[in-house]
C-alpha cells in the first residue's frame, strides 16, 4: 500500500522534524516563522488600505480595487498560512475544485438575475 513512507509531506515548519523530506522552498525554509510575520504584515497593510476607502472615494475604481485587495488577501492566507504553496498539490486540487465550482455556479446564478432576464 505504501508508495512513500512519509506520513505527511513537509511544510516549512516541518523542516527540523523531517529533514530531507522537505521541499525546496528557498529562503522560507530557514525562518518560516519570520515569513509568517511578514505575510501578516502585508495582510495588515492591505486591510488598512481597504479600510481607507471608507474615507477616500476612488470613484469607479472603488469596487475593482476592493475586489483585488480581497483576492490578494485570500490568496496570501491560502498559500502561506494554509501551506498550499509548499504542500502536496493534491490538497490544493481538492480545495480548488470546491472553490472553482462555487465561483461557477453562484456567479451564474447572480448574473442570471442581472443580465440574462433583461
Amino acid at each position: 500500500m505504501t508508495e512513500t513512507a512519509i506520513e505527511h509531506t513537509a511544510h516549512p515548519a516541518d523542516h527540523d522534524a523531517h529533514g530531507a523530506a522537505g521541499h525546496d522552498t528557498g529562503a522560507h525554509q530557514h525562518h518560516p516563522d519570520l515569513t509568517y510575520v511578514k505575510v501578516a504584515g502585508v495582510l495588515a497593510v492591505l486591510t488598512a488600505l481597504e479600510t481607507a476607502t471608507y474615507w477616500v472615494d476612488l470613484g469607479s475604481f472603488h469596487t475593482p480595487f476592493l475586489l483585488i485587495m480581497m483576492v490578494t488577501k485570500f490568496v496570501l492566507v491560502l498559500l502561506f498560512f494554509m501551506h498550499l504553496k509548499f504542500d502536496n498539490k493534491l490538497f490544493g486540487v481538492l480545495f480548488y475544485m470546491g472553490l472553482g465550482l462555487t465561483l461557477m455556479v453562484y456567479l451564474a446564478v447572480l448574473f442570471s438575475y442581472r443580465f440574462f432576464t433583461r
Binding site: G98, L101, F115
Partner: protein, 668 residues
C-alpha cells in the same frame, strides 16, 4: 468483533507498547463495546461490511415503504374522480414517495454497496474513517425514521420533493410536515457528506500496492465520481434547507414575496444540488452494470478508460445544467439557450457509455443470469429514458412537457429502469459474496420479467397521458376530460395502475427469493467464485473475513483476479486464454502468506450516540428549545468522547481479558 491483535497477557504487552495508554490511564469513562456477538456487535460496529449490510437492509425497508406509497398513488388514479386518498393525503403521498425513494432508498443503498465493495475492490481492510462511517449510517437511519414519524405527528410534507417556495411556506403548508422534511433531509445529508469524504479518502489513499487509478474497478471509479458530486452539491442543499427552516421556524424573510423575495432563489439553490443529485443516483448503477456485463460476457469492459472518463464528464457537466429544470420559470432567453445546449451535451458521454456496454457484449459468450438480465435491462430502459430526456433539453418542447406525466415517465425510466435495475443487478451479482448463498435463479428470472413488464406498463403509458396534458401531481382526473380513441386518458391510467401492481409483484418476488434463501434455508451455498468474476472482491472467502484479505494483494492488471486465474497460451488457433488456477488455489495461496499483524479499528459507542443527539436537536427545533438544548449537549458530549477515544480499544476493555491469545486471528 473487529479483529484486534489481542495482547496475550495484558501487562506484558501493555508494557511493551510504550506510547500507548495503559489500562490505568484509559481514555473515556466507558469500556469499549468489543463484544463479537449479539446486537451490540452490530449497533456499535465500525466494520465496513456490517455497516454495508445494515445500509442495505434499512434502505430496502424504506424501498418497500416508498413502493407502498407509489401503489396508493396509482390506486387513487385508477378510476375517474377517485376518492381513495384525500387531496391533502395525496400531496403528502407523492412528496414522501419521491423523498423516500431518493434519499432513503437509492442513495443509502448505493452507500451500502459502496461501503461493502469499495474497500474489497481496492484491496483495503476497511475505510479510512471507520467511526465516521458508522456515524453516517446512524444519521441515515435516524434521519429516515425522523422523516417518517411526521406521518403520525400532524402529517408529512406536502410540497413535492423539490418543495418550491413560497408554496411550501407556512401560509400554504401549515403542518409541521415541511419542517420534518427540511430537518430530516438535512440529517441524511450529513450522512451522505461524511460518507462521501470518507470514501474519497479511502479510494485516494487506501488502494492495494500496484493499484493505480487506472487499474481500479469501474464500480469504484463511479463511486469516486459520485462522492465528489456529493461533497460539492450537498452544501448547496444544506444552505437551501437552512433558509427554509429559518423561514418557517424563526420567521426569516427569504421566500416572502410580499417583502420582495425572489422565488427563483430556492429553485436555483435546490437544482444546483438537484441536478448533480440525478447523477448521484444513476452513476453507481452504471458502475454496477460495468462490472456485471464484462463478467457475464466473458470479455473485458470495452473502453475501460472511456467509461471512467465519461462518468467523470457526466459528473462535471452535471454541475452546469441545473437551470434546465427551470425552463418554464421565466428565466430569460439567454439563460435558457445556454442551459439547453449544456444539457444536450450530457447526451454525449452518456451515449459513450451505452456504446461501450453494447460493444462489451458484442461477440462475447453471454450468460443470461438474473444479474445479467437486469444489466441488459438497464441498458435498454435507460436508453429509452435518456432519449425522452433529450426532448426535455430542447427548451421549446420542454415548455410543453413541464409538469406533465411525460416528465414522470422520463425520470422513472432513468431512475427505475436505470438506477434501480442496476441495484437489482448488484443484488444478484454480489449476493453470494455478501451472504455466501446464491439467490435462486429461476425465481430471479420471474423477478426480472415481472419488473420489466411492470415498469413498462406503468411508465410507458405515462408518455402518452403526459403529452395529452395530464398534469403531474393531480389528485384526480375527471371522466369528461379523458377524451376517446387510442389516446383515452382513462384507459392508459388504468393500464399504468395494473402495471404498478405487476411491478409490486416483481419486488415481492425478490423478497420471496431472499426469504426462501435465508429464512427457509433453501439457498444453495455459493461456490467461492460463482460467476468466474474479474475483480479483487472475489479474491477472498464468501462472505469475506473480517479483515477482508489475509494478505493484501499486489495489483498488476485492471481485472486482477481474472488475470490470476487465466493465462494467455499460444495454441494452433492463436493466443487463447486458459484457466490455469482456480479461485480456491488463489485463496489458499493468500492464506499461506497471511500478514502477521492485522490491526482493525475497534467498535465505538459514539457514532450512534452522536446521531441520536442530532435527531433530538431536530425534534427540539420543531417542538421545544429545551429538547434542542438536551440534544445539543448529547451531541457535544459525544463529540468530545469521540475525539478522546483512540481508534483501537484498550486491552483492559476486552472481556474476558485476552483469555485465549490469538484465537480470534487463528480461526479466520
Amino acid at each position: 468483533m473487529a479483529i484486534i491483535e489481542r495482547p496475550s497477557t495484558t501487562p506484558a504487552v501493555a508494557g511493551s507498547a510504550p506510547s500507548f495508554v495503559g489500562p490505568a490511564d484509559a481514555y473515556g469513562a466507558f469500556r469499549r463495546p468489543v463484544t463479537s456477538r449479539g446486537w451490540r456487535s452490530w449497533v456499535f460496529t465500525v466494520d465496513h461490511k456490517k455497516l454495508g449490510i445494515m445500509y442495505g437492509v434499512v434502505a430496502f425497508c424504506f424501498f418497500l415503504v416508498g413502493g407502498l406509497e407509489a401503489l396508493l398513488i396509482r390506486t387513487q388514479l385508477a378510476a375517474p374522480d377517485n376518492t381513495v386518498l384525500s387531496a391533502g393525503t395525496y400531496n403528502q403521498m407523492f412528496t414522501m414517495h419521491a423523498t423516500t425513494m431518493i434519499f432513503l432508498f437509492v442513495m443509502p443503498m448505493v452507500s451500502g454497496f459502496a461501503n461493502y465493495m469499495v474497500p474489497l475492490q481496492i484491496g483495503a481492510r476497511d475505510v479510512a474513517f471507520p467511526r465516521l462511517n458508522a456515524f453516517g449510517f446512524w444519521c441515515f437511519l435516524v434521519g429516515g425514521i425522523f422523516l417518517n414519524t411526521s406521518w403520525f405527528l400532524g402529517g408529512a410534507a406536502d410540497g413535492g420533493w423539490f418543495m418550491y417556495q413560497p408554496n411550501a411556506s407556512h401560509l400554504f403548508s401549515p403542518s409541521h410536515g415541511v419542517d420534518y422534511w427540511a430537518l430530516g433531509v438535512q440529517i441524511t445529508g450529513i450522512a451522505s457528506l461524511t460518507g462521501a469524504i470518507n470514501l474519497i479518502v479511502t479510494i485516494i489513499n487506501m488502494r492495494a500496492p500496484g493499484m493505480t487509478m487506472w487499474k481500479m474497478p469501474i464500480f469504484t471509479w463511479m463511486v469516486l465520481v459520485v462522492q465528489f458530486l456529493l461533497v460539492f452539491s450537498l452544501p448547496v442543499i444544506t444552505v437551501a434547507l437552512f433558509l427554509l427552516t429559518f423561514s418557517r421556524v424563526f420567521g426569516g424573510q427569504f421566500f416572502n414575496v410580499q417583502a420582495g423575495a425572489d422565488p427563483l432563489l430556492w429553485q436555483h439553490l435546490f437544482w444546483i444540488f438537484g441536478h448533480p443529485e440525478v447523477y448521484i443516483l444513476i452513476l453507481p448503477s452504471f458502475g454496477i452494470v460495468s462490472e456485471v456485463l464484462p463478467v457475464f460476457s466473458r470479455k473485458p469492459l470495452f473502453g475501460y478508460k472511456f467509461v471512467a472518463f465519461s462518468g467523470a464528464a457526466i459528473g462535471f457537466v452535471g454541475f452546469g445544467v441545473w437551470a434546465h429544470h427551470m425552463f418554464a420559470s421565466g428565466l430569460g432567453p439567454l439563460s435558457v439557450a445556454v442551459f439547453s445546449v449544456g444539457t444536450m451535451m450530457i447526451a454525449i458521454p452518456t451515449g459513450v457509455k451505452i456504446i461501450n456496454w453494447t460493444l462489451t457484449m458484442w461477440g462475447g459468450k453471454l450468460r443470461f443470469t438474473t444479474a445479467m438480465l437486469f444489466a441488459i435491462g438497464l441498458v435498454i430502459e435507460f436508453t429509452i429514458g435518456g432519449l425522452s430526456g433529450v426532448t426535455h433539453a430542447v427548451s421549446p418542447s420542454d415548455t410543453q412537457q413541464t409538469d406533465t406525466y411525460y416528465i414522470v415517465a422520463h425520470f422513472h425510466y432513468v431512475l427505475f429502469g436505470g438506477a434501480i435495475f442496476g441495484l437489482f443487478a448488484g443484488f444478484y451479482y454480489w449476493w453470494p459474496k455478501i451472504f455466501g448463498k446464491l439467490l435462486n435463479e429461476r425465481i430471479g428470472k420471474w423477478n426480472f420479467w415481472l419488473m420489466v413488464i411492470g415498469m413498462n406498463l406503468t411508465f410507458g403509458p405515462m408518455h402518452m397521458i403526459g403529452l395529452q396534458g395530464q398534469p403531474r401531481r393531480m389528485v384526480v382526473w375527471p371522466q369528461n376530460l379523458t377524451g376517446d380513441g387510442l389516446f383515452n386518458l382513462g384507459f392508459w391510467n388504468k393500464v399504468a395502475t395494473v402495471g404498478s401492481y405487476i411491478l409490486g409483484l416483481g419486488v415481492l418476488t425478490f423478497v420471496w427469493n431472499v426469504t426462501r434463501t435465508h429464512l427457509l434455508r433453501k439457498g444453495e451455498v455459493a461456490p467461492l467464485d460463482p460467476w468466474d468474476a474479474r475483480t479483487l472482491e472475489w479474491m477472498t472467502s464468501n462472505p469475506p473475513k473480517e479483515h477482508n484479505f489475509d494478505a493484501i494483494p499486489t495489483v498488476h492488471e485492471v481485472d486482477e483476479f481474472f488475470h490470476r486465474k487465466y493465462e494467455e497460451v499460444e495454441t494452433d488457433h492463436g493466443v487463447r486464454l486458459v484457466k490455469t488456477r482456480s479461485a480456491e488455489e488463489i485463496l489458499a495461496d493468500q492464506e499461506a502468506h497471511a500478514d502477521a499483524h492485522i490491526h482493525m479499528p475497534s467498535p465505538s459507542y459514539w457514532p450512534v450516540v452522536l446521531a441520536v443527539g442530532l435527531v433530538i436537536v431536530a425534534y427540539g427545533v420543531i417542538y421545544s428549545v429545551l429538547l434542542a438544548v438536551v440534544g445539543a449537549l448529547i451531541t457535544l458530549g459525544a463529540s468530545f468522547a469521540w475525539a478522546l477515544e483512540p481508534s483501537t480499544a484498550d486491552p483492559s476493555d476486552f472481556d474476558p481479558p485476552a483469555g485465549t491469545p490469538g484465537k480470534e486471528l487463528a480461526n479466520v
